[in-house]
Symmetry: C2
Subunit: 512 residues, 2 copies
């Protein structure tokens, strides 16, 4: 069975899991019956407990689906605390359905898989030892990778039915009113976790900071919460910020960022009231810096900035260059703090951010997005999931979702060390080329041939050579040569869903 | 069939509507499967329309359930505009399920009933010509009266399944992000309407003020909205405020208010961190004034004030005498404006306010509430629904819900003109005596015998005579005599649900 991006899909697994092959990036107008949780009624007076083990005992049974959020990133203390009790409790055959998995969770997930505690996983991504473990066949059932918007969709459809959500928060009152903005371990927006709070049958908050009732603003509400577990520390504030908080000084990255800015500024979308998502990382910060200057120079203001938010973006808000920041997650302390003080920085849940199956998500209104790539191929298909060795080492994140923007720019170096980024065929298709418009490399840009308008607008920019994507691929190949083909077994270790829940690709077990 | 407050219930109607008789005010710990709406998927780009008729045609079919909110109160222009199109469109057999009905809607509802357009109604209340019409048998099927918390419960259970919600808002962007705080016709909290926005299959916003995208704060979200209808005016700002905005000068009302304050201050609940709900009307404002002084004198601050909010209550917030205002509706412009500027005034939906079937509502945490009564009987049962002539002229509002407070005070004059308020048996039981603690009249107070602790605390207050409720009833009867018994036919014109959805009483057709 092949799907519309020409990937062979394993018919047995597709049938077992009741999957459809990916067809199109168009979502259309289906009518969707949403699902709702079971609620165990209470007046809410006895929610505070200190014994995680007891809460696990009261809520969990073999075969259930459990969830966590990843807003603490590598500063997370919650996942390991809870999973320790679950493994030690001897629970079996659980489905792990977090918003994503970060490196600090890897050892515990592997232990839980080996113990038979976790037998199914759905996540935005995985990296490091866990990606390696799964790619080498460590988990019997294929991992289901879903974008943030698709996870929201899957929860709202009932494809993911969370029995118990364990959600760490930097503050909560005794009934469970909580937000991500105050306390020691602040991370700002609770965007991804809001889905779990709304849809899980049982919601367990963990916090090191029980505040007086009623706690406001209440991003998570007492009407959603069953238990409030007091713990010593929910997270390490120093490790919550993800990656770069300073502009890159790498000349290659600066060149790419400056070219990305040229593409944006010369596109038809750079006008008063435009909107953008830049993402995180040193290069993204550099793009934001260039964009800021261009907005000042051209007297242009943005209506909104979207997505994972960084301080340089909230600086634009505070400068008045951006009217609203629509915030599903904050990548650094500065962005998290700004959410607390600037009422134009609106917390949004993952559904509002990117669920394709609703009445309009923020990404549907997005003009410009800059996304990264591990690989991009001559059909503009993008891989952000598997490495050049075929091993899982990435995350879909909002990649497929934000690629619905009117101008989707992939920003990536032509080669990384001895490895080509622009390739004949990506190892794993995450985002279909159909939703990608421009590739920006340090050598120049390639424009998706279906975008004649952009060919025209961007065809003759000074200092921005335009290539076909095949030319860029050949240039990359000339520099680093042709890699030896990867070898995989027939066994499927992961399914990559497109944001509509169809299968865009699979990942096979790597052959050593 | 009799229920636990000794009311005869019509077995045929009870069976037809699948109702249980009222048993107890205890909600217990049932496990509830919630329901969820159908969502018609769209990117949200074509929501703005100007033709109400076309929207009605696109969304409505015979037999459906439609809803409205009553936050505009008698300044509402939305209900009549929409119902005009629905009646003229010839639709039949609709269920009207608004959060409540205000006087300005009465003529149109009667016309719709006569036309066969509306055949079923559920509401918090009705007054004036509509109450009269229904009490005289104008609607074939019994009206279902539900408290605000019970309406939330019924929506979350699927007892009320809203097909199309028509919601007026003072602002919205083109995708439907909206709040109640900005524009000409502001009313502050959208508390009741948030239930409709979340649970209706189709949500139609009507506004006279389309603002730039994205509109924040978004109490109603684009993910919930199907249409944004631009109209000339959604409401009359001068008629949105309900009733009194000034303290009463009526000596009887002042005496009652001052005694209410004495009861609160001498109760075990008046201590730092206590919480209260005072409601609206001149007497409630007077209570708030007395309470303010008592709080200052005793160095006591409240953790929260709840409910329908008035400016004197938000003044307490701004003075620092109250930490949080939990706001399901605002009764005047001052309170609505304060919500915009004071982040400690938190908008809450009707479920969070008072739904008994969740994981804790605000009313479950309430220490003190002051409620009104049309009648209260010697079992402390309260009627806020039917007049002394047996005609429907009231609303449950949050009466049953807030009566779950630790100290529930009914504040009412002993007699009104030639009519006794304290009676042997109320015409219609809305709130069972079991949840009422103290009656305060201008002559003195009566304490529910089951509250020995309050008998002790309040038994010897200077200037606060304590009577049994029977003594107060006899005193009232002495003043105004025994009224002629009301005469009703056998026909049931309304069912009064308790907040758990059981039947606490019915209203019969009045015999002329």
């Amino acid at each position: 069975m092949k799907n519309n991006v020409d990937r062979d899909l394993p018919e047995d697994v597709m049938a077992d899991l009741n999957y459809q092959p990916f067809k199109t990036t168009e979502i259309g107008h289906p009518e969707i019956q949403r699902v709702a949780p079971k609620v165990h009624v209470s007046t809410g007076d006895d929610k505070v407990v200190t014994d995680i083990k007891q809460v696990v005992k009261d809520t969990l049974q073999d075969g259930m689906t459990i969830s966590f959020h990843h807003h603490f990133r590598n500063g997370d203390f919650v996942f390991n605390k809870v999973m320790r009790e679950i493994i030690d409790g001897g629970y079996k055959d659980l489905t792990l359905a977090p918003s994503s998995l970060t490196g600090v969770m890897n050892d515990m997930v592997i232990e839980a898989i080996k113990a038979g505690t976790i037998t199914h996983i759905t996540s935005s991504g995985m990296r490091g030892s866990l990606g390696d473990f799964v790619s080498h066949g460590g988990l019997k059932n294929p991992v289901i990778f879903r974008s943030h918007g698709n996870r929201a969709r899957a929860i709202e459809h009932g494809d993911i039915k969370i029995d118990v959500a364990f959600l760490g928060v930097p503050n909560a009152d005794a009934l469970g009113n909580a937000n991500g903005m105050e306390g020691d371990a602040v991370f700002g927006s609770l965007g991804y976790a809001l889905m779990d709070a709304q849809y899980a049958n049982k919601v367990v908050l963990l916090t090191d900071n029980i505040v007086s009732y009623p706690n406001t603003p209440a991003s998570i509400k007492q009407t959603q919460v069953d238990y409030v577990v007091k713990v010593d520390k929910v997270g390490d504030p120093d490790k919550i910020g993800s990656g770069a908080t300073r502009f890159t000084k790498d000349p290659k990255e600066l060149k790419i960022a400056s070219t990305v800015n040229d593409v944006i500024v010369n596109s038809p979308y750079f006008k008063d009231g435009f909107s953008f998502q830049t993402g995180s990382g040193g290069a993204a910060l550099a793009v934001t810096r260039y964009l800021r200057q261009a907005m000042i120079d051209n007297h242009i203001k943005a209506s909104f900035a979207l997505g994972g938010i960084t301080k340089p973006t909230t600086d634009l808000l505070n400068e008045g260059l951006v009217d609203k920041v629509m915030d599903v997650q904050d990548f650094d302390k500065g962005a998290a703090e700004s959410m607390h003080t600037n009422k134009n920085q609106q917390e949004i849940d993952a559904s509002w951010y990117a669920d394709p199956d609703n009445k309009g998500a923020m990404v549907d209104q997005l003009d410009v997005v800059i996304l990264s790539a591990l690989e991009i191929d001559t059909k503009f298909n993008v891989n952000v999931m598997s490495g050049s060795d075929g091993v899982i080492r990435g995350a879909i994140g909002g990649h497929q979702d934000a690629a619905t923007a009117k101008l989707t720019i992939i920003s990536a170096p032509l080669v990384r060390g001895r490895i080509a980024t622009v390739v004949p065929d990506v190892t794993t298709i995450v985002t279909p080329g159909d939703s990608v418009d421009v590739l920006v490399t340090e050598y120049g840009i390639a424009i998706n041939p279906k975008r004649k308008d952009l060919q025209e607008a961007l065809g003759n920019l000074p200092g921005v050579p335009v290539y076909t994507i095949s030319e860029l691929q050949q240039l990359a190949e000339k520099k680093v040569g042709q890699p030896k083909p990867l070898e995989f077994t027939d066994r499927t270790v992961a399914m990559i869903e497109y944001r509509d829940g169809s299968i865009i690709d699979t990942i096979k077990e790597v052959k050593d």
